[in-house]
């Protein structure tokens, strides 16, 4: 009896010791299909790492950004793994808020444009979970009806011509749908990328705002002409979701937006035009830069975490080739997170399952965050400027351009206001001496 008691006590103690040593890491993530899928597949990780438990905080992008920024800036330590984008990584890494990642699976397999966007001074501070660019999605049937053929790499002139030919107001078809809702990640993501193809830039080498240049004028005039003549009504309040709904309901001839939309518009459960969608590279103006952006939702480890090793292990698992194969096995190749690894685009099974795969890769490869536009710039980022002040400025400029689209002010007035407000902010922040 005594021996039994001793054995029981000993086994309980061992069990409690084990429990005490099980580390719990908290992962903050955005709510999108790929991330939700990862949450469902984590048994694979916890089986291989029984000493690590996972806690999930899944939130809408803007809420998550606010929470995570507050936590990391105050060293709150609530999270051990963060989901952040290519905008945050260079800024936070320079501030010393992120740990360098040294356990990432096969780093050389990462797509160079994405890897560059997540590195500072050659060190990787976040591992990409999925990458995206932007491209033209168009209705093949309407294009055919208009007697036109979409080239693989169209120009803005062709887009204008096609938009005019495809517009059919009587049947509620708009030639083109583009973002108009104000926000640094909304209309300004599109317009900044578009301005790159017109040779415009946010700042010159001395951080002087450039909204008073002919390149920006040409960008905004062209955008307003397209939207006012061939775009949907009330476009100044349309973001990604609104345009997605319009395209899926057959109300758009063309839509230039995130490559991630390809899987939605070709899904016959949701889209009425699923079998009539073609893809092309974002347009250019013959200046050597296309109007596509680059974004990667990535996993990073904050410097304030007490569980760095467990967190790095998780990041390594979630962004590994093994994880890609796991998703393919459980959910099919079409559901694999795209745009991060070169090897995925050499996989025949993936290329067969995802008809938009090649265009996604080509679009990502077209973007260069270090040299986003024609002229030299002092910043990193294709559709954003990776400085902390950009979020506020980007949204303020976006409001001016959205007002111009709504007809509340002219393009010239919007550009003058943008120039004035960015000059004021950059002077205040000390960039302009």
């Amino acid at each position: 009896m005594k021996l039994r008691t001793i054995l029981l006590s000993a086994s309980s103690a061992v069990a409690m010791f084990g429990m005490a040593h099980a580390e719990t890491i908290t992962i903050a993530t955005v709510n999108n299909g790929d991330m939700v899928r990862m949450q469902k597949l984590t048994d694979d990780f916890t089986k291989a790492n029984p000493d690590i438990e996972l806690n999930w905080v899944t939130l809408e992008e803007n809420v998550l950004r606010q929470k995570v920024t507050t936590d990391i800036a105050t060293k709150g330590g609530q999270y051990d793994v963060l989901t952040i984008g290519t905008y945050e990584v260079p800024i936070w890494a320079k501030n010393g808020w992120l740990l360098e990642l040294n356990q990432v699976d096969d780093v050389d397999d990462l797509i160079p444009a994405i890897r560059d966007g997540l590195s500072v001074d050659g060190k990787l501070y976040a591992s990409p979970f999925y990458g995206e660019s932007s491209m033209v999605m168009y209705r093949t049937d309407l294009m055919e009806k208009a007697g036109l053929e979409m080239p693989q790499a169209p120009t803005w002139d062709f887009i204008k011509k096609a938009a005019e030919a495809m517009t059919d107001r009587e049947n509620g078809v708009n030639g083109i749908c583009l973002r108009g809702k104000a926000g640094w990640g909304e209309n300004m993501a599109f317009l900044t990328a578009m301005s790159n193809s017109y040779g415009a830039r946010w700042f010159d080498e001395n951080w002087q705002p450039q909204f008073d240049t002919p390149e920006w004028k040409a960008t905004l005039d062209s955008y307003l002409e397209l939207m006012n003549n061939y775009g949907p009504e009330g476009a100044s309040s349309n973001g990604f979701n609104e345009n997605l709904a319009l395209f899926q309901q057959g109300k758009c001839g063309m839509w230039i937006d995130a490559t991630v939309a390809a899987s939605f518009v070709t899904n016959s459960d949701e889209s009425t035009v699923a079998d009539k969608v073609g893809f092309a590279l974002a347009p250019d103006n013959g200046l050597g830069k296309r109007a596509n952006w680059l974004w990667a939702w990535s996993l990073a480890v904050p410097a304030g975490t007490q569980k760095a090793d467990a967190a790095q292990k998780f990041v390594s698992w979630a962004t590994s080739k093994h994880y890609t194969e796991l998703v393919a096995e459980k959910e099919g190749w079409a559901n694999v997170p795209p745009g991060t690894r070169k090897s995925l685009y050499m996989n025949d099974k993936y290329l067969e399952a995802a008809p938009f795969a090649k265009m996604t890769l080509a679009s990502i490869n077209e973007a260069d965050p270090q040299h986003p536009t024609v002229k030299p710039v002092p910043y990193v980022g294709v559709q954003f400027v990776a400085i902390p002040e950009f979020q506020g400025m980007g949204t303020a400029v976006g409001q001016q351009f959205s007002a111009a689209l709504a007809g509340q002010k002219s393009a010239d007035e919007a550009l003058a206001a943008a120039q004035q407000l960015t000059t004021r902010e950059m002077t205040k922040a000390g960039y302009i001496k």
Binding site: T26, Q39, K40, V63, T74, G239, F240, N241, L244, V260
Partner: protein
Amino acid sequence: MARNVTTAKRVGWSIAAWFVALLIFFPILWTVITSFKSEGAAIAFPPVFFDFDWTLSSYVEVQERSDYLLHVWNSAVISLGSTFIALLISIPAAWSMAFNPTKRTKDILMWMLSTKMLPAVAVLVPFYLAYKNLGLLDTKLGLIIILTMMNLPILIWMLFSYFKEIPGEILEACRMDGATLGQEIVYILTPMAVPGIASTLLLNIIMAWNEAFWTLNISASQAAPLSAFIASYSSPEGLFWAKLSAASTLAIAPILIMGWFSQKQLVRGLTFGAVK
């Protein structure tokens, strides 16, 4: 003839009242209907009201993805806890200002209200740092404290106006009979102000239940209430309206049911003292 006019008027007013009620209730009804649609039917244009394939798939997915009961438990503890503490503080405070006013009472009331004019985000970082040092981040206690502080001015104002309606002579009479201060508040004042206190209590529970700034920013996973539960289904890249509607329906269901059963007290409390 006169009787007919009265009936017609009554019917007219009833129709108008029903129309307004339906207008106000329509967004909730639409959310509930959408929660039973597929994602494709949810974004269909023109929208379909009842003629679609009803499905529970969004509810099933929400159940699989989130720990709904944990969020409900957190919401209940936080809203009831903060309401209880706030009432403990606000009843004596309102009593004092209603029955023993000084020349500064009005200034104090205004000052309390002025704290509501401060945008919450302005004090987020100081609170976050203080909570981090006190170990209150992502705890229910931390959220109870903050929601108590946040709702206290409104509670005191509401109770103050209810107490002002009670004739001071009644309290004087009970003092003449030898009641202590505690007895006066517990046995005389509180029973007389029950409708007012009940409606204040209910409104505070609703405000705490719906609060979505502090609950989202101070909580992470352990103390996250239903506001965080809903926020996890909203997405700027992807139309998941059916799932978002299912999550919203689940989140508002408890408070809607509570409001339904207590509407008598709520209305009585809100109109308390309106007619003498």
